[in-house]
């Protein structure tokens, strides 16, 4: 075994040994691949970002970053620095370069919606990246080879070759699809073209898929860099919490302007019609209880739509999702009382253990309502539940559940959940949702 091992090592170092013995040394041959060139060029501009507990000097999060200006501004992901942004008294930030250089980091700006942050190194940078103009104006062709850089799983700085696949379709937030392996620790690292210009920032990967990874488009980073450069002095670290709250409020304002503006389509469920999202980034799935064993005594046909958006705020707090679902229930051999119990089971607002860290407790109001008794609106049992975000005033998680109350043997149970929504938007959405439930008498 040791012999075999030695042979492999020998084989690997052989070319240089041969070169060394050549009597007339020629100029070194051109480096063999684009990747090698890119990595060599990128090395001094790449950083590892560590979040450490201020009191114990132990690391809690690792990510990557890259330098973009000579005075030491670097781009990373918001989720890499989120602990520090939310609790600057408990954590501190540190950078480490590929060449053993390291130092402290100051946080200058965050963009929660696009998962970006700008930090400043405590020493000037030796070199910096520039943004790819084709990426900034969105003309980079699909299929181009691009390279993601970073420090995956703290194994050392690495380069990953992959394919640029353009913006992700059916997504509310703009993200680029990168067919290559992005692993934990690479977050905040750059994805660059063959000539070393920034296309996007590594942010996430799809767990169910193979090599399906996502990048934040470069132009969001360019905008945030410009904003950070315009700052007269670094903001007070304690001010980021309020800033994050403002950004979440702005994010939901834009999201719900789109949703409320677009309105709902109507889908048919037996004698009822219910609101269904028409937006391309709402994904809908259907389901049934027909195959259950023992056979169900009432049929339930369900559809559920959601926006697949999970805005990262903290390790234990995601927000920004909207989901709506309908269950059309029809009794098979239940009597009216039993069917009412079945409806109740489907219309329950499920509690759970609640994280007091981010939310207040959930409280509900309920009543029988009817949007317009004269028109085609059935009487509904409406349950409206909300909890407030402790840290971000004016934002709530809201759940609306309705059950039609007109027939003894069939019902439509509809549910709308909104995370991180303003009160006014929640009320407007609720009204639109409830008004969208109609019947044929």
């Amino acid at each position: 075994m040791p012999r075999l091992f030695a042979r492999i090592v020998l084989a690997a170092i052989l070319p240089s040994a041969v070169l060394a013995e050549t009597p007339n040394p020629q100029p070194p041959p051109p480096v063999s691949s684009t990747g090698e060139q890119i990595y060599a060029a990128a090395r001094p501009r790449l950083l590892q970002v560590r979040t450490l507990l201020a009191a114990q000097d132990k690391q809690t999060t690792l990510g990557s970053a890259f330098v973009v200006t000579p005075d030491g501004l670097a781009v990373t992901n918001y989720h890499v620095v989120s602990q520090y942004a939310l609790e600057p008294d408990t954590y501190r930030l540190e950078w480490a370069g590929a060449d053993d250089r390291h130092g402290g980091l100051a946080l200058l700006a965050v963009d929660v919606a696009d998962d970006l942050a700008i930090v400043r190194l405590d020493k000037p940078a030796e070199a910096q990246f520039s943004f790819d103009p084709r990426a900034l104006d969105g003309t980079l062709p699909k299929g181009e080879q691009i390279y993601a850089l970073g420090n995956p799983l703290d194994l050392g700085f690495s380069i990953v070759e992959g394919t640029y696949n353009g913006p992700v379709e059916r997504n509310y937030q703009e993200r680029l699809h990168f067919s290559g392996a992005v692993n934990p620790g690479m977050s905040g690292g750059p994805a660059v073209t063959a000539d070393g210009r920034i296309v996007g920032i590594n942010v996430s990967k799809q767990l169910q898929g193979e090599l399906v990874s996502f990048l934040v488009p470069a132009r969001f980073a360019a905008t945030l860099v410009a904003k950070a450069q315009a700052l007269a002095k670094p903001p007070d670290p304690a001010s980021f919490r309020d800033e994050i709250g403002r950004q979440l409020t702005d994010f939901q304002a834009g999201l719900y302007r789109t949703v409320i503006g677009k309105g709902f389509a109507q889908a048919k469920f037996g004698p009822y019609r219910g609101p269904e999202a028409e937006l391309p980034w709402m994904n809908c799935w259907g389901g049934t209880n027909a195959g259950q064993a023992p056979p169900p005594r009432a049929a339930a046909a369900t559809t559920a739509c959601s926006n697949n958006t999970m805005l990262f705020v903290a390790n234990d707090l995601g927000t920004g999702s909207i989901s709506l679902s309908h269950a059309y229930l029809k009794s098979i051999d239940l009597n009216d009382f039993q069917f009412a119990a079945f409806v109740r089971q489907m219309a329950m607002v499920r509690g759970g253990y609640y994280a007091r860290k981010w939310h207040t407790h959930e409280d509900c109001r309920e009543d029988f309502v009817q949007s317009d008794p004269a028109a085609e609106h059935p009487p509904l049992r409406l349950t409206w539940c909300a909890k407030a975000y402790r840290e971000f005033p004016g934002l709530y998680d809201v759940t609306v559940v309705t059950a039609t109350e007109d027939r003894g043997q069939e019902a439509l149970v509809s549910r709308l959940s909104m995370d991180g929504v303003s009160w006014d938007n929640a009320i407007a959405m609720s009204r639109q949702f409830v008004d969208g439930i109609t019947w044929n008498r």
Binding site: F339, G352, H361, F368, R381, A388, Y396, E405, G408
Partner: protein
């Protein structure tokens, strides 16, 4: 007529242990064997007490110079001489005595009233309670009906009933000398039926009127009913000292309610069970209340917003 003196030795609860008749005009009480009444109480002097008639012919008791003295009924003041009226008791050492003469009045004879048989009441009560329970389970059965789903609540009721009635019957047998099983049983069944009906009615009204507190406040009514039933059980055991019994029952009830309330509020810290949820739906045909307009409902939610915003700062 020869003057007769009756001396009764009593328990601490004033029940008669032994009764002694003396034809003499004077007698002595103590531990020594030359007394007319010999007591085995170590806190009594060999010759402790003299019982005699004074000049007016009334019975008096005199302390004959004992260590522990002579006391009147529940008093704390040692007294050398007591006028005996036949009603009050005296204490020497740890022995209670009552002295009466032959003329002491007694209440008239009481007619024997045949205690009513209560069995005929018990049966319909049991049928009603079990019937409501079975109906409730059946109307909420949305899966395959299983025998255990029905038997389990019935077994629960039965166990509660056996424990409650059994405990009271035993207590009654010990303290009142008679078990009075039927009365305890019918009382417990009646209380159960009332609560069971109350439970059904509040469940229905809470849903139809959207008044969650009707269900949320049930535990108060439950413990009040337990308290009242316990008091009535105590009254069956013995009709005396009703104020004390009522006070004890009320205090225990209040303690139970307070405990449950504190427990509920501390559970709320961990479990996010939204606290205004109704636990049962009824068919549309049973609708009772009016239907609100959606807009009116949504505009009423401002109160909820205020509450949640207020809760943001709670730690």
């Amino acid at each position: 007529m020869e003057p007769v003196i009756w001396v009764e030795v009593l328990t601490r609860q004033r029940d008669v242990i032994s009764r002694h008749r003396f034809a003499a005009s004077e007698l002595r009480v103590g531990r020594a064997y030359d007394n007319e009444i010999v007591l085995d109480d170590p806190h009594v002097a060999p010759v402790h007490l003299r019982i005699a008639r004074d000049d007016g012919g009334s019975l008096v008791a005199e302390d004959l110079g004992s260590l522990n003295g002579l006391y009147i009924d529940g008093g704390h003041m040692r007294t050398p001489r007591v006028l005996l009226d036949g009603e009050g008791t005296i204490r020497i050492g740890q022995t209670w005595l009552r002295v009466r003469d032959a003329a002491h009045p007694v209440p008239p004879e009481r007619l024997i009233v045949q205690e009513r048989r209560l069995w005929p009441w018990a049966l319909p009560l049991v049928v009603a309670i079990f019937g409501i329970e079975i109906l409730g389970v059946w109307l909420n059965e949305i899966g395959e009906p299983r025998l255990t789903n029905f038997l389990q609540p019935l077994a629960t009721i039965l166990i509660q009933l056996v424990l409650w009635v059994g405990a009271w019957t035993i207590l009654c047998r010990i303290f009142a000398g008679a078990a009075r099983f039927e009365r305890h049983l019918v009382l417990a069944l009646t209380a159960m039926l009332i609560y069971s009906l109350y439970d059904e009615v509040t469940s229905y009204l809470a849903f139809e009127l959207s008044e969650e507190w009707l269900v949320g406040s049930r535990y108060v009514v439950y413990w009040v009913m337990v308290g009242v039933t316990g008091f009535l059980n105590l009254r069956i055991v013995g009709p005396g000292r009703l104020r004390l019994k009522a006070g004890a029952a009320a205090a225990l009830t209040a303690a139970a309610i307070a405990y449950v309330a504190i427990n509920q509020s501390s559970m709320q810290e961990f479990v996010d069970q939204p606290d205004s949820l109704i636990h049962r739906f009824y068919p549309p045909a049973m609708r009772l209340g009016p239907t609100a307009r959606t807009d009116a409902f949504l505009s009423r939610l401002d109160g909820l917003r205020g509450q949640l915003d207020g809760a943001r700062d709670e730690k």
